[in-house]
């Protein structure tokens, strides 16, 4: 799919707000991910002509198959709409129709389209006019009428609003700015319609969601992952990702679109926010918007609220069995082999990787032939400044470790607020496991060699990123 040079980039933006990096499908403006999102059931409906911009109305008409049957249907549909409109406002008459006036109208409205689409629209229009099977003059007249009707109402709405704005006792600057806004798409009636539709839809959806929670009509996968719940908490993690830690992510292209892969990352920052941010990074930046299955330590299932939260977000307990099973289901799994030793590091030990467990993650990868993606998270180490680990308090509270930081436990629950450092997440080149035989997971020498190799790669990646970083808070 990459060899096709003719194809353009996908027009959609990812959830992070960046331009999608995928190539568009051959007959669409969107890539395979966004094509589903962009598919609009109303697009195929000819009734969309009355509220579409001028140039796209004939454009749409011309894309219809040239069978006379379809054309007749469309003309009938247009006539019906005109009748309805005439009934709604009988005093409306459009300016006299002429081909030059129509061309002028198209010129005026063409500017609303992005550049590549303009040329395309003009080509289609020309073929629609020249082609004998194209629209007849009657249909052009109908289109003319509809466009003018829509424009006249559109303009009067603007004028009314601007008139009201002038009468309001506002400072000159504000009124001017508001007026500028009113001239833009923000006060396009379509925008408001869209907004109304979205708001009423989301209100209905949320009411329905609450109802279904009580009647049990919701689905989780066998691990407990709940997409609706994930969508509900996603804005919080997106906020942390984009605005709090301003995460800079590189190398998402190293993560496959569909196949299994094992992300191996360093662990830091006292609380496992780094796992959440890796998951958010892949969800926001990767074109396939994959869900990362983080494997967590066995302390978390004992904690109220956190245990079901992790389950519903698709995470599961760290064990070779669970990891292998997830990878066999072609999932994207993330592990943090440093474990408590990594996450509970003192401030003075930061960015020096701890021992990488007992190599369980390599066994998972070898068993399932999943590529290992070494990943370095920089910035999470400084979110808490842990000065000392208290063994006594850990035993008393049942925590696996009890850090004493600048703020915790002195400020109580406020001490848990992390510092807004600037993070970076680098996904490295994948290490393929295909070269090793299926029983290589039993070879303990190989397992420990690979463990060290992955550890060294991640350590190097961290040093590289640290060398580039100028400021902890500004990156």
């Amino acid at each position: 799919m990459v060899d096709d040079q003719e194809r353009t980039r996908c027009l959609a933006t990812t959830r992070a707000g960046a331009q999608c990096k995928n190539l568009a499908l051959s007959d669409m403006e969107y890539c395979h991910v966004h094509a589903v999102v962009a598919a609009d059931p109303d697009g195929a409906d000819p009734s969309g002509a009355d509220n579409a911009p001028a140039s796209s109305a004939p454009d749409e008409a011309s894309t219809a198959p040239s069978e006379p049957e379809l054309r007749r249907q469309m003309a009938a549909e247009l006539n019906r709409m005109i009748e309805e409109l005439e009934q709604a406002s009988p005093d409306f008459t459009p300016p006299p129709f002429s081909p030059t006036a129509l061309i002028d109208l198209i010129k005026q409205n063409l500017e609303q389209l992005p550049a590549p689409m303009r040329v395309d629209a003009l080509y289609r229009l020309r073929s629609a006019v020249l082609d004998d099977d194209g629209l007849d003059m009657e249909s052009w007249r109908d289109v003319w009428y509809l466009i003018h009707y829509w424009r006249s109402h559109h303009d009067s709405f603007f004028e009314r609003l601007q008139g009201q704005l002038g009468s309001l006792p506002l400072p000159a600057g504000v009124a001017q700015r508001l007026g500028a806004i009113f001239n833009e798409d923000l006060l396009d009636p379509e925008t408001w319609k869209g907004l109304w539709f979205m708001m009423s839809y989301s209100a209905r959806y949320q009411a329905d969601m609450v109802r279904r929670r009580f009647t049990g009509e919701y689905e989780t996968d066998e691990w407990g992952m709940d997409w609706e719940f994930l969508d509900a908490v996603r804005p919080f993690f997106t906020f942390l990702y984009k605005y709090y830690w301003r995460v800079q992510t590189t190398g998402v292209e190293n993560i496959p679109d569909y196949e299994r892969a094992l992300i191996v990352a360093n662990h830091s920052g006292q609380l496992p926010f780094d796992g959440a941010m890796i998951g958010t990074a892949v969800l926001l930046e990767h074109p396939a918007q994959r869900l990362v299955r983080n494997l967590y330590a066995d302390w978390f299932p004992t904690l109220p609220f956190l245990a079901p939260l992790l389950d519903k977000m698709g995470q599961s307990l760290a064990s070779v069995e669970n990891g292998t099973r997830l990878l066999e289901n072609e999932e994207l799994v993330a592990v943090y082999p440093e474990g408590y030793k990594g996450v509970g590091k003192l401030f003075k030990e930061r960015y020096r990787l701890a021992r990488f467990g007992r190599g369980g993650f390599v066994k998972m990868a070898l068993k399932t032939q999943a590529p290992i993606i070494p990943t370095a998270v920089v910035g999470a180490e400084e979110t808490y400044i842990s000065l000392y680990k208290s063994r006594t308090l850990a035993q008393l509270t049942g925590f696996p470790y009890f850090p004493i930081s600048l703020t915790w436990p002195w400020l109580g629950i406020l001490g848990l607020v992390p510092l807004p450092t600037r993070w970076s997440i680098d996904f490295g080149e994948p290490l393929s496991m295909d070269a090793y035989p299926a029983d290589a997971a039993e070879n303990l020498v190989l397992v420990s060699q690979l463990t060290d190799q992955v550890r060294n790669i991640i350590q190097e990646m961290i040093y590289e990123r640290l060398a580039e970083r100028r400021s902890i808070f500004l990156g």
Partner: protein, 367 residues
């Protein structure tokens, strides 16, 4: 197979025993012998060859040999909330004695009913417990303690008697309109207690599928432990929602201490599980059930729970109707008895002897 297959069902007077016996009798080539402590008149199963005996009786080996029994379904099990000596004797010692008798008398296959609760609920449980996972079941509830005892005995006994195929079916939470199981009891509370901030994944299975799986296993050629549950596993709160119940969330330290203070018997009706089972994940892996045993439950988990929910919604009304029915039957019996007596006394007035008439009246009553 030309000759008639003989299957012995222990606990045939109990709920599971009688249902499995009926399920086995569907096949015409099967001769089913039922053994239980109840009197023969109480067991009304057509075609069942019922014998009143204790399943732990040493003479059972003799019976197995005489009848040339090849398959035994051991379903004599008392579900008790609290461990005590009599139920230990009946459940654990009974199973051990029966397995010993089977090994000595040429029985080829024994099928037992167990529960996935024997794995125990723990924070470090694997997400899907395979059949070879360690048995760390809670030991406070009587039924679970006995099942763990029996299972660990079987693990050793497999080596002692390798020619005897022992199939243990570990069922997930059994739900359904008729069975009396911990999960059914838990869900019949108006407000079933849950632990605040915990929502573990759980599996359920419909009671009909339990019977189906036991019958399937009795005819099957494979052996060993099998997890049996319906798809999909779901969070506890969804199970409650599907059963039409609102949860009563309680802080978990309170529940741990409270259930210890209140004592097992009081808690047993309200909270039939040990607290850990409402806290941690104990979902069993079903690969062996599907691929080796070849058993597929007929009810999805949500269908099983909807069946229970329908029962729970109608239960307050149907119970009263059953009461009326029972009244009518009892009254009819009394009327019949009196009519017989009246007829007898009418006869007696024709004849001079009064004593004879009384005898006749009794005869009519018994007839």
């Amino acid at each position: 197979m030309g000759e008639q297959q003989v299957i012995l069902v222990t606990g045939a007077a109990g709920y599971w025993g009688s249902r499995v016996a009926r399920g086995l009798l569907v096949e015409p080539e099967v001769h089913v012998i039922g053994v239980d402590r109840a009197a023969a008149e109480e067991v009304e199963i057509e075609g069942l060859d019922y014998i009143q005996a204790d399943p732990g009786n040493p003479l059972l080996a003799e019976l197995l040999r005489v009848e040339q029994v090849k398959t035994v379904c051991h379903l004599a099990f008392e579900e008790t909330a609290r461990p005590n000596e009599t139920s230990f004797e009946y459940n654990v010692m009974g199973a051990i004695k029966l397995l010993g008798a089977c090994a000595e008398s040429g029985v080829r296959r024994v099928v037992l009913k167990s529960s996935t609760m024997v794995y125990g609920a723990a924070p470090n449980n694997s997400a899907f417990l395979m059949e070879d996972a360690p048995l760390r079941g809670g030991r406070r509830a009587g039924y679970n303690r006995y099942r763990c005892e029996i299972e660990s005995f079987i693990n050793g006994f497999r080596r002692q008697a390798p020619e005897l195929d022992i199939t243990v079916l570990r069922f997930a939470n059994v739900v359904g309109p008729t069975a009396d199981t911990p999960m059914n009891r838990y869900l019949s509370n108006r407000l079933p207690p849950t632990l605040l901030g915990f929502d573990p994944m759980m599996q359920v299975i419909h009671e009909d599928d339990v019977v189906g799986a036991l019958v399937h296993a009795a005819h099957s050629e494979v052996s060993g432990p099998f997890n049996i549950a319906a798809d999909p596993p779901m969070p506890l709160l969804r199970i409650l929602a599907l059963a039409g119940r609102l949860p009563l969330p309680l802080a978990h330290p309170l529940v741990y201490r409270g259930s210890a203070l209140l004592g097992a018997r009081r808690v047993a009706t309200y909270l039939p599980f040990e607290t850990d089972y409402l806290r941690y994940r104990w979902v069993a892996d079903l690969t062996r059930m599907r691929e080796l045993l070849g058993f597929f439950p007929q009810h999805m988990a949500n269908e099983a729970l909807e069946a229970l929910a329908r029962h729970l919604r109608t239960a307050p009304f149907t119970e009263r109707r059953d009461g009326h029915g029972a009244d009518a039957e009892a009254l009819q019996a009394i009327i019949d008895e009196r009519r017989a007596r009246r007829e007898a006394s009418d006869k007696a007035t024709e004849q001079p002897q009064v004593e004879g008439s009384e005898h006749e009246a009794e005869d009519v009553e018994n007839g």
